[in-house]
């Protein structure tokens, strides 16, 4: 029988190993799987390469993972946001690597990783510093940059509801990177606010088909990152 439901975030992240490449969903706090990230901090894996659009806020979630020196390298599009303090500090001190990728290229590289496409050409970043050292090529008289797929050992994703097959639906703009990250990891770990029975999700409205998901854990009341940041909370508490 197929049952992808695990009992706790701790069990869900148990197999993440030192040096792993980990994709983390979310755009700012929307869609960020904060309970899975905290479980990963407790679990202790280090030397991680993290692929995520931002670098977290305050001292919780992704920012806390970075603050605990578990992240060797960030691959992201926007590492500084209003409440992002941890990453800039480490970066200025040369204590963390950064691969800066335009947001649409980041999304397409992840989607390609999931789709078995090793590389593609994009007009984005042609003629800019982010295209330096990259192969460029003309198609129909325009220049494009070659970009390589991104794949991960693990993806940590937050969604609204899941069933035991791993079918997922999301909430509003918290969908963002979740669906493509589910496709691009060897092991996809999802925290869902609700677990539904098979068939409760209309087959026409499934956003992530279960084939892309390995582990689901229920987190019915996920923490709100912005509230934790406003209260200056630090994980672990």
């Amino acid at each position: 029988m197929i049952n992808k439901i695990f009992a706790s975030p701790a069990e869900a992240v148990e197999d993440i190993f030192d040096g792993a490449v980990v994709m983390i969903s979310g755009f700012g706090e929307a869609g960020s799987p904060i309970e899975l990230i905290h479980a990963l901090i407790d679990q202790g894996a280090k030397d991680l390469t993290v692929i995520s659009n931002n670098t977290g806020s305050g001292h919780v979630g992704l920012a806390a993972l970075i603050a605990h020196r578990r992240v060797k390298k960030m691959i992201c599009s926007f590492p500084r946001t209003a409440n992002s303090k941890v990453f800039p500090e480490l970066y200025k001190n040369g204590e963390i690597e950064l691969e800066l990728v335009p947001q649409g290229t980041l999304a397409e590289r992840i989607r390609s990783g999931g789709a078995g496409i090793p590389a593609f050409y994009t007009p984005t970043s042609v003629g800019t510093p982010l295209a330096e050292g990259k192969e460029t090529r003309e198609f129909k008289g325009r220049s494009y940059v070659m970009q390589h797929a991104l794949e991960a050992d693990f993806s940590l994703v937050k969604c609204k509801a899941a069933d035991r097959y791993g079918n997922l639906v999301y909430n509003k703009t918290a969908r963002n990177f979740g669906p493509i990250m589910c496709t691009a990891a060897k092991t996809t770990i999802v925290q869902a606010k609700q677990i539904l029975e098979l068939g409760d999700i209309d087959p026409e409205t499934v956003v992530t088909p279960g084939i892309f998901v390995n582990i689901v854990v229920k987190v019915s009341k996920p923490a709100e990152e912005s509230k934790l940041v406003a209260e200056d909370r630090r994980y672990p508490w």
Binding site: M1, A115, G116, D163, T183, P203, E204, P209
Partner: protein
């Protein structure tokens, strides 16, 4: 090569059953058109297997009852199917993400020819004037999906289908993992073709006689 087809060996249903036994619980499986479709009927009790059809359905169920057919709910062979609870629909690019991205675990296909190195020819006989038609076969074999071929051991004319080198245009090079025929189950390995199981009343030599490629026995 060999004259008339003999009555010994496995029936088509038994061939499908043998392939089904090699599908682990929890697998995501794509079944090709024709003989491969029979495999779904033989998955052992207690195993939950999810069927993918590349025209946009994961969680394909059995043929609908008469009168329940929906021309907008079909499989890749354009036959009426159903959807199980927990199924989902998606578009063609997402469907081939499941295939090309190696998310499908096993694909069962038919064959015109399989070579000694696991090359597969199953889309064109290359005959002059034939209309070439490839469908999704080349995509299914291009990744790391385990490829099961289910096929009669020889053609109707008694010609071997397991050959040293394919003479028909290839679907993919070095892609087949296991071949299920009416005579034997044959694994394709780095060291060549190995007969894993013989049908009742069939000897290794019977199989080798009807096979153009060299066969090996597990020691």
């Amino acid at each position: 090569m060999v004259g008339k087809e003999e009555k010994k060996g496995w029936s088509v249903g038994q061939m499908a059953q043998k392939a089904a036994l090699d599908i682990p619980d929890g697998s995501y499986v794509n079944l090709g058109i024709g003989m491969p479709e029979l495999v779904a009927g033989y998955v052992p009790e207690g195993r939950e297997v999810i069927y993918h059809t590349e025209n946009g359905l994961l969680g394909m169920g059995p043929t609908p009852e008469e009168g329940q057919e929906d021309p907008e709910l079909i499989n890749a062979g354009k036959k009426y199917v159903t959807a199980i609870p927990g199924a989902c629909y998606f578009h063609h690019a997402d469907s081939f993400t499941m295939i090309r991205g190696n998310h499908i675990d096993i694909c069962v296909l038919g064959a015109y020819q399989v070579s000694g190195h696991g090359d597969l020819a199953n889309w064109s006989t290359g005959a002059p004037g034939a209309i070439p038609a490839v469908g999704g076969a080349m995509d299914l074999v291009a990744g790391d999906i385990r490829i099961f071929v289910i096929s009669r051991h020889t053609t109707k004319e008694g010609e071997p289908k397991i050959v040293q080198e394919c003479t028909y245009p290839l679907t993919g090079k070095n892609v087949v993992n296991t071949i299920y025929t009416d005579l034997a189950i044959i694994d394709v390995t780095d060291k060549g073709l190995f007969v894993r199981e013989l049908a009742p009343g069939i000897t290794f030599d019977d199989v080798q006689k009807r096979t153009d490629a060299k066969l090996n026995q597990y020691s």
